[in-house]
Amino acid sequence: MNRRGAVKLLAFGALVVALPGCSCDWPAFRHNALRTAQQANNSPLADPAQVPHLAVRWTYPTTGALSAFRASPVVYKGRVFVGNRNGHLYALDANTGALLWQYPPAAAAGLWSIFTCNPSSEGIAASAAIASVNGKDAVIFGAPDQSIGSGLGDGRLFALDVETGAEIWKSPVIARLTGADEGDDSQFHEQIGYSSPLVFNDRVYVGVANHCDNPIQKGRVVAVLLSTGAIDSGFTFCSTGTCTDSTRGGGVWSSVAAGGDSVYVTTGNVNRHLPLESEPSPNRGLSMLRLDRNTGAVTWQFQPVPWALDGDPDWNATVSVQPASCGAMIVGTQKDGWTHAINLEPSGGAASKRWSFPPHATPFTAGDGTGHGDTRYMRSGAVWRDVYITLNGGLNLTSSGVTGGLRRLHAFNACAGEADRLRWLLDVPSTSGCAPGDRYCYRVGQPVVTRGMVYVGTDQGHVLAIADPSIVPAAGWRCSNPDVATANCFAAGYSLVPEPSVLANVALPDGGKIIYSEPALARGKLYVATEGGHVYMLSP
């Protein structure tokens, strides 16, 4: 590394230190601006002796149920904040589950759009974020609002006082909804959807996607001023062409990550669902991008799936900035099941790939035996120092189909060579079983981690605690290729990898899915919201 590179990294490090990465709370989606999903502070949730006692301690609401939760809880100073499909944001007492306030008030209609097509467009679909706004603690979230713009449910950001729920500011329209006629490309069908706001320095960043590709819209990242909610016109990012032309695609379904002088974002499809005759220029779709945090200018772009192979593998999992011992990298899994790690610093102005799993040259090419469709790898991974834990299509991705990995966690050694990349592998256990060949019957959500203890929800309403084999001995050994039995593993050319121990497998009372949302780990307690319409607090 030359002096200039070292200085840049030093500056990055200094800026990153300012992020709330050490918070004992869980103040943002994936815990912090790096989106590491890591609770680094010690607590009973990291103690292998206590974790088996994990149990539900309170439930909200205590009777009945709300509509589905797709957003995740955030936790700050004894309060839990979580948005619901019904368009209300709830503030709960973190110790008791008692309702402190809701926004809008119970008697008022929820924040809702007239154009709903899937969970992304129903009420509040993304997690909130905590910030200090002009010296006051605030909870910031995105939602559709029929009181502005077209009156149909344009998307905007809200900043509320964490103590009272009083409005501090409401942004102007960020995501335009000017009609609800499916397929009508004369209307704007934008939405904030699953993009959780990123609070970074003096701005709040949020992605703009669309309503079920019907039709697809031009993907954008919008920044507003943290102090007022006004749109920062100095920051612009659009996924295709210019921000004013008619090209479309590259919806930003993910949450923006940050570190140093940059923000990081992933984008959706361009060539699918559109009768395009030629590729837009520039085409930032299906990419992981590093953007200047002040201007939105692209520093580098990593686009593994080119326009010609776009079968709708939106990159909609939020990426993590992994400050690994071998150097910082940006890591994430695309919807097609491939995980890619890109060096933070570009090489010759271009993205510099560190590794992919399964290993493969990128960009992919026609006839290379790979396929890239809407195969649902939409969950973000977790960073524990040099380890990255995620859903992944696996070493049998191209030989056996991609869906098997939807119920399997992979842990990768981010700094190791290819032979040691895979650290461990776990088929997250099912309680009700799956019919043979039914690979969609049991899926897992977004893992989070505290000191090597991984927590994850499932679509059967379970919360599991899984111990890295460095802190609890492995339960057993299996072949790195899930299609190969242990006995044949070496002969087939693969290696044996450990299967970590499952220390807790708690069935939540409502059985609601926990795959869009993540568990939040704060001060020794785990908070999770389900599609069954409940918020639960668990502790050992």
Binding site: L9, V16, T36, P323, A324, L426, D468, V484, N488, L496
Partner: protein, 144 residues
Amino acid sequence: MHLVVPVALLAMPVSGCGEGSRGVALLPPAPSERMAISKSQPENPFVQMEGGPLARSSFAAIVGGYAIEVRDFLVGPAQKAVSVNVNGATVFEVRDGMGAVTIGDKTAAVSMGATFTVSEGEKLRIEARGGPLILRAHTFKAAP
């Protein structure tokens, strides 16, 4: 020095809460004796064919007087070239890895994404190079 300081600073916000900023060591390899075998084993595993590759059948049907079977073959990198009896006209796809195939007396290098055909009765030998080679075979023949 240039490397140490930035990396330490990078690590602080996520691992500096008393856990230290060092990396995570690799896990030791599988023990050679008394190794616990995972209960997670494949539903349809590859099975070693005598003197041949590992194989599994993923689809078989008899339709309109034709027998159609889809099989996967896995050749390990330590194996020498193995013979495969395709037992019918077969279209092969290379699903993973690279290697060489010999059909009759002609040898060709293949890699992921390649396709080739083998007629009924032709001799086929497969060799993996550099890692495992996985082929999918679609075989068509008259129903018995």
